[in-house]
Symmetry: C2
Subunit: 701 residues, 2 copies
């Protein structure tokens, strides 16, 4: 075994230590005055309550799945490690989200308080807490991979010895692949459940609070305001963390598995791990370059974050060259191009997302203008903007596929090309530590703004938290673009791994993955439809849950005497409980879809049909997710643009229309859109785990 | 040559004679009072003006393309017939729309007038004029096919003799295939241009008239009201006619071409033509069963139309059995199952469309209820409804693909299976004569309602025209479902034909249509994105054009003294001119996309990439089109549901929210959605026509 693979656990532990250090730095800061402590405590309490209930539900699911997998493994349909790998994947994915949320809910009041000093102090606290989550995700991800890697190496090298190196590596990577399914399942629950929670609370709070009662956003009299702030944490932090944990782990493991088929042997398996390790170190370095001055405008603030990400990317780009050269030799140096194309694609997708969703560019400004003729035109324009915005991300992904396939030797060997595609996903995700930091920063800043508002902090402080919050909207949008792009590339790597797995299970199987094969074609249609179905279910869930919140808030305004006057306190906890319950109930069907469809299609249409399903879902899912994220982001920022005083400002008819756009965009960008990321990965993961079952029992051989 | 093929031209001429008879029957009816004559005249004048300008623009395009094709043909990249076939396809497609629109604009006042007598009279006039268009489309379509079929048979049989029968049939079908591109191009202009016109006028008229000036729909004081009524004709009649002409011709010709590869020889080529001929006769029969009683409710009225369609379908189902038996022999009787599956699929898709869009079912009623919490929730629910509604149509199409492939012998021979898929499209479209009649009936009834309103006809008359109009909404929605479903199956047949054509052009070409081939994968992504891009462009076009109408209507209300009081007349013509100009300008880019993308992808990624592009576009296009059509239809009917007095009725807040939903739905269901049908067919057609060019000059061999 190569010594260089030791870099993986070392970097993973470094990331965790660094995260602990940042967490310590944040935690020793003061939370501010008593009111701030109280509000932050309420948010924390709500978030904890939510996660406790969610994890209880998820534990049931994992328990059930564990038993099913044990049974399947005992019939030899799975290797004996799968059930345990499934559990660890789920556990670490959930833990990433949990820790991220813990620190985020601890940092919100501290950010607001630090913003009382100066803008940079506020930025530092919020960013540091985001970075805790970023490094926890990459640290736990790479640690999990390393542990399994070393354990399986030991197992197949010393206990159940597989003498042939190629076969041994294959056994190792196959077993590792399956633990991604645990991470995916966990991520799905976190994303979908959190997404439903956050938007039900947000939409519900806005519909009654802003529209009916006419009180401002984040007003403490609104009974749903704490639920709204809790939602930011459980959806945008815990959900996002679990999602990207899964992409990160999935891309590394899938690429390792593809390396075997490409004949790169042990070094090929190690390279994505080491790439990830380098990425962690580069990301840590990058965090030190994030700082700003007082009175910085949005552009300067954004540059402060960008500087860190770009620096990390450059370091990775430089370090990857000798790495590839050393590991795979001069003849495979083209693989370096695959890493670069992935890195570039991540940055470009982020750029295009920003272009289409930030109000410093024309598309969102024009969208804001469409609000002048009422809600209908801003909705039409926003949907249209989202659809148009899919063009460049699709082209970027296509170029990335093309380049990474060909520079890695796809022209002469198919498997080499697929390995290249996998590595481009790893390349894109190598900056995850810091990218996720800038992304998870958003909800903390958002919460800080809410606390500043609720605690009636000074105008200057609120101007600072507003600036930080507004920046968070942009980074959240680009973060979503990054999450979707990496999910698409990861899903492609997983599809290739799926095909590989079938070859291992049944070497004599003759594939017909041609799009003129009706089974593939039907798979494409069904797969293409799934993201639509999935989005419909999750958006409906938000609508239903939001409705319950509306009724509850109306009830409280009616029944609690003195609430509107500010002399009585609302009952925040009921709203949190309603959202929690709704999220738990509504996340079950979407989760089952992602497991039932590949199994069902596999049993009815065979291996080729499943491949069609996966390709269809990945293509449509990617496009739909980009559209929803960008429409939603642009509506949000168009509203903010008007609130900044343009086109009549707050309270104008244009503003009212823009609020409608924003409300429609909420479930788009924070529930349905990001959930699709997981859907496409979980579909592939489920297909891989159940591959033996499908090969054995499918009606179509 | 089989004598039975003579049935094709005979049926085609019968259809045309029948259409002429119906037209004569409609035309000899009185138009009503002077005001009605005047209004109808204004609509007719506007529609004619629009079509004149559109055909002038289209003529330029066709002239240019003709020259390009002549050049390509002279370099032997195309057979010499292609340029002429292209022209005739375009000419007949345009003519279908033109005649349909002529009769529709002549029948509107007559329908209103007949409704003065009784409900059935009104229904008869509107349905007869719809039937004129239905039978003109199928008559001209089958006539065009017959003429080319006989001419090419004569040419290759007597002039440039190809002795080998198989090669001769191949030469004939190849040449015939290409004239579908002419029909497609024409259809695109008609659908996109008409779609932009109609919704710009509709949205613009509603935004100022209903919302700002507070005058009812179809109020003669609204300067955009004539443009709105013109739009119904140029979009929903002329556009729809050209669209379905193209599906009809495309499916017959593509299936004929597939018959050659399947080795069914001459009889296989003849069978889709004869199937179509039987369909025409069955449809004519069906029209005699459409009648209703006075005081019929919506359900009874709908049944009146349904009876005709179902009867035709049953006749076709019975007649197809001996036909298949006689033509292809007992050993191929399974092909009959393909025809049946197509017929059934058409009816089922219509049913599911109705279920999701009619206010007699729960989905639309629930949607209406979502309007009670404002425009945002009805938009979210409507989008969600549309997404959910894709599930069953996708499954129906998948079952149809599966069944028609396998019953036709796909299990043993791939080409037999594809021929079966083609025949299922032909089976679905065999009822087109009468299906289109029920569909084109809608705009006539809509116009009649408008004229009744503007001419201040009695309350009873308006109640009858309202009933007819409301029925038209349902048939328009199911008609759209039918158009989309048939477009998807036709596109699949065309993709198969494309692959066939490549085999003919370069028999030694080794396909790799596997979804793991990066070129195919990239094609899938780009193809999948195209319907989104296309929809964005067309919706934006509507938005821009509607804005111009808003400004113009506002200007007239301000500058024309006495307009609001009804003492002065508005300037209808300027609004018509604005819409016309906008439609012409805005349809160019989408049309170019459909030709540039397959060429570009072909040159960069080769034959396999193009196949991926076509598959991706067909899958996403079908799903997106269904979603848009159903969301739009449901919003429209949710509004009508409220207007019928539910949930507070007209003028309530719920109604205002529902109007927003309806306005968003307008470009969905009448511009972007239906345009996608053509996009997916035109992409395939363009790929077929430029196949030689791509094979020769592609960077990827």
């Amino acid at each position: 075994m190569e010594k260089i693979t030791l870099l993986a656990p070392i970097s993973a532990l470094t990331a965790l230590v660094f995260a602990a250090y940042l967490a310590w730095k944040v935690m020793r800061l003061p939370q501010g005055n008593a009111l701030m402590v109280k509000i932050s405590g309420a948010i924390r309490k709500g978030a904890n309550a939510y996660l406790r209930i969610q994890y209880r539900g998820v534990a049931l699911f994992f328990g059930g799945m564990f038993i099913i997998l044990i049974v399947l493994a005992s019939f030899k349909f799975l290797t004996p490690f799968v059930p345990f790998a499934f559990l660890t994947g789920g556990f670490f994915s959930g833990l990433s989200g949990f820790i991220g949320m813990k620190i985020a809910t601890a940092a919100n009041a501290r950010t607001a308080n630090a913003a009382g000093k100066c803008l940079d102090s506020g930025l530092q606290v919020a960013f540091s807490s985001g970075a805790v989550m970023g490094f926890v995700v990459v640290g736990l991800g790479l640690l999990d991979i390393s542990i399994w890697f070393y354990f399986l190496n030991f197992w197949y090298g010393s206990v159940r010895i597989i003498a042939d190196e190629a076969l041994r590596i294959q056994a190792i990577t196959s077993a590792m692949l399956t633990f991604g399914m645990g991470a995916s399942s966990m991520a799905l629950f976190a994303r979908v459940g959190g997404g439903i929670f956050t938007k039900a609370a947000d939409v519900g709070a806005d519909l009654v609070g802003k529209v009916e009662a006419g009180i401002p956003e984040d007003d403490p009299r609104n009974p749903a305001v704490i639920a709204d702030n809790v939602g930011d944490n459980v959806g945008d932090v815990a959900g996002m963390g679990a999602d990207l944990y899964e992409s990160y782990v999935g891309s590394i493991v899938a690429t390792g598995a593809l390396a075997v088929a490409a004949g790169h042997g042990f070094k090929g398996v190690a390279i994505p791990m080491v790439m990830a390790a380098i990425g962690i170190l580069a990301s840590i370095l990058g965090t030190f370059f994030v700082k700003t001055k007082e009175n910085a405008d949005q552009k300067t603030l954004l540059m402060a974050l960008r500087r860190g990400v770009w620096l990390s990317a450059v370091v990775i780009a430089i370090a990857a060259f000798p790495l590839v050269y050393y590991m795979l030799g001069k003849e495979n140096i083209g693989v370096y191009g695959a890493v670069l194309s992935g890195l570039m694609a991540g940055i470009l997708i982020g750029y295009f997302t920003e272009y289409y969703t930030s109000d410093t560019y024309k598309p969102t400004q024009n969208l804001a203008r469409a609000s002048q003729t009422g809600p209908a035109t801003i909705i039409i324009s926003g949907l249209s903007l989202g659809m148009l915005s899919t063009l460049f991300p699709v082209l970027v992904v296509c170029v990335s596929i093309y380049v990474s396939y060909h520079v890695s030797g796809g022209g002469t060997s198919f498997d080499h090309g697929l390995f290249g595609i996998g590595l481009s996903a790893v390349g894109m995700l190598s900056t995850l530590g810091i990218t996720l930091a800038t992304d998870a920063y958003g909800p903390v800043a958002d919460n800080a703004g809410g606390i500043a508002e609720m605690a009636h902090l000074g105008k200057e402080v609120r101007a600072r938290t507003d600036a930080l919050d507004s920046l968070g909207n942009t980074t959240a949008a680009t973060g979503k673009g990054f999450a979707i792009g990496s999910a698409a590339l990861t899903a492609l790597a997983l599809i290739a791994s799926y095909v590989d797995q079938i070859k291992i299970i049944k070497p004599e199987y003759v594939f017909d993955l041609s799009i003129t094969n009706p089974n593939v074609l039907i798979g494409l249609f069904i797969g293409g439809m799934l993201p639509f179905l999935f989005s419909s279910l999750t958006m409906n869930a938000v609508g239903r849950a939001a409705m319950s919140i509306v009724y509850e808030v109306r009830r409280q305004f009616k029944e609690i005497i003195g609430l509107m006057e500010g002399t009585a306190e609302p009952d925040y906890e009921t709203c949190v409980a309603i959202c929690t319950k709704a999220a738990q109930r509504e996340m079950i069907v979407p989760a089952l879809l992602a497991i039932v469809f590949p199994l069902g299609v596999g049993l009815l249409l065979g291996v080729n049909g499943v491949a069609g399903l996966l390709a269809g879902a990945t293509v449509t899912g990617f496009i739909l997710a980009v559209m929803m994220a960008n429409s939603g982001g642009a509506w949000d920022n168009a509203k903010k643009y008007i609130e900044s005083g343009e086109l009549g400002g707050k309270g104008s008819d244009a503003h009212k229309a823009a609020v409608v756009g924003d409300t429609v965009g909420d479930p788009f960008k924070d529930t349905a859109g990001p959930s699709i990321n997981i859907l496409i990965k979980l579909l592939s993961m489920a297909s891989i785990v159940f591959a033996t079952l499908i090969v054995k029992f499918s009606l179509v051989k």
